[in-house]
Symmetry: C2
Amino acid sequence: MTPERLARINQTLDNRQPDLTICLEAVHKTHNLSAIVRTADAVGVHDVHAVLVQGYQRMSSGTALGSQNWVNVHMHSNIEEAVSQMKAQKMQVLATHLSSKAVDFREIDYTKPTAILMGQEKFGITPEALELADHHIVIPMVGMVQSLNVSVAGATILYEAQRQRQLAGMYGQNKLSAAERHKILFEGGHP
Amino acid sequence: MTPERLARINQTLDNRQPDLTICLEAVHKTHNLSAIVRTADAVGVHDVHAVLVQGYQRMSSGTALGSQNWVNVHMHSNIEEAVSQMKAQKMQVLATHLSSKAVDFREIDYTKPTAILMGQEKFGITPEALELADHHIVIPMVGMVQSLNVSVAGATILYEAQRQRQLAGMYGQNKLSAAERHKILFEGGHP
Ligand SMILES: C[S@@+](CC[C@H](N)C(=O)[O-])C[C@H]1O[C@@H](n2cnc3c(N)ncnc32)[C@H](O)[C@@H]1O
Ligand SMILES: C[S@@+](CC[C@H](N)C(=O)[O-])C[C@H]1O[C@@H](n2cnc3c(N)ncnc32)[C@H](O)[C@@H]1O
């Protein structure tokens, strides 16, 4: 490994935000998951969650998502399992929901430990996810189209979180455990 | 047309921002253009520009992009043609560029008439576009991945523009010409 590459990896790890995550409720299309993982990496999100859809199980293995992007992708068989992990980490759980009762996504304090739940392209977020969430949030839209693409919506929220966390001085703080850091440096050196 | 639909169309038109636009420099993949048009509609952008890539000309006709999304999609054969139209409308031209010399996209005043130029998925923005631009802007990234997906990057910038324009009270101002409004109301009533 060159010194430049090592420096870059170290800088990336210093910026990781283990207390910020995003979860896709139902993944059919790998390109949406890929786009979200790519944005997650860019804002320092270290773990992405996804709930598998029956019959699409095979997608999870064989894709190079995790290793390519330096982000851990955790697969779950249902949303309860995913959310219980987030709650165990004391995260506030936000469900994105196209409803007039949802609050504007910019009103949320993303400097708190936070998990963002994204719904499925066709049917949106499930009633189960809405029930499990602490807040329902929406990105304002003023046009004729009813919804944004899920990876676009995810990115818009993640960059609001990045803005707030940057203002709060939360980057460059090296928040990963020593064990996690060691594991990544070892694996990352041998791509 | 139902009264509800007419009210919705009128509200959309009241929120249109004719002095904010986005331009894709080289479109190969229709799904990126579609995602950008969808986001443009959601933030009130009325016109989207795209430069055709040699050999992909046929994509422009036959797609339902414009009518489906209530956004005008203007096709150009080169970037100079597109930018000259923007400059004729006294817009500041911003080239998105993955360079350390580019300024953070949040430092720009998007309440000014503004055109945002997006580069191609593989090679990024062209030297011609960089030359024609007033500012080079970049979305900060702190991970290992080198760039964002183009529709994600476009959406992140458009929602920053929406944030600034909303704070400045620029929505709901009915800025379309009476002729344009009439044309859309007539077409929109017969989908
Ligand atoms: C295409 S949308 C789902 C549309 C679905 N018909 C519905 O009513 O929810 C896919 C997902 O993207 C996210 N999304 C899209 N637009 C959004 C917005 N304006 N605010 C918040 N989330 C949004 C949500 O997670 C949503 O479940
Ligand atoms: C996949 S990127 C192009 C990558 C290309 N290798 C390069 O070096 O420019 C496609 C387009 O998305 C936009 N983009 C992606 N990431 C961006 C960022 N962090 N800041 C600004 N624009 C970005 C730019 O318009 C870019 O030309």
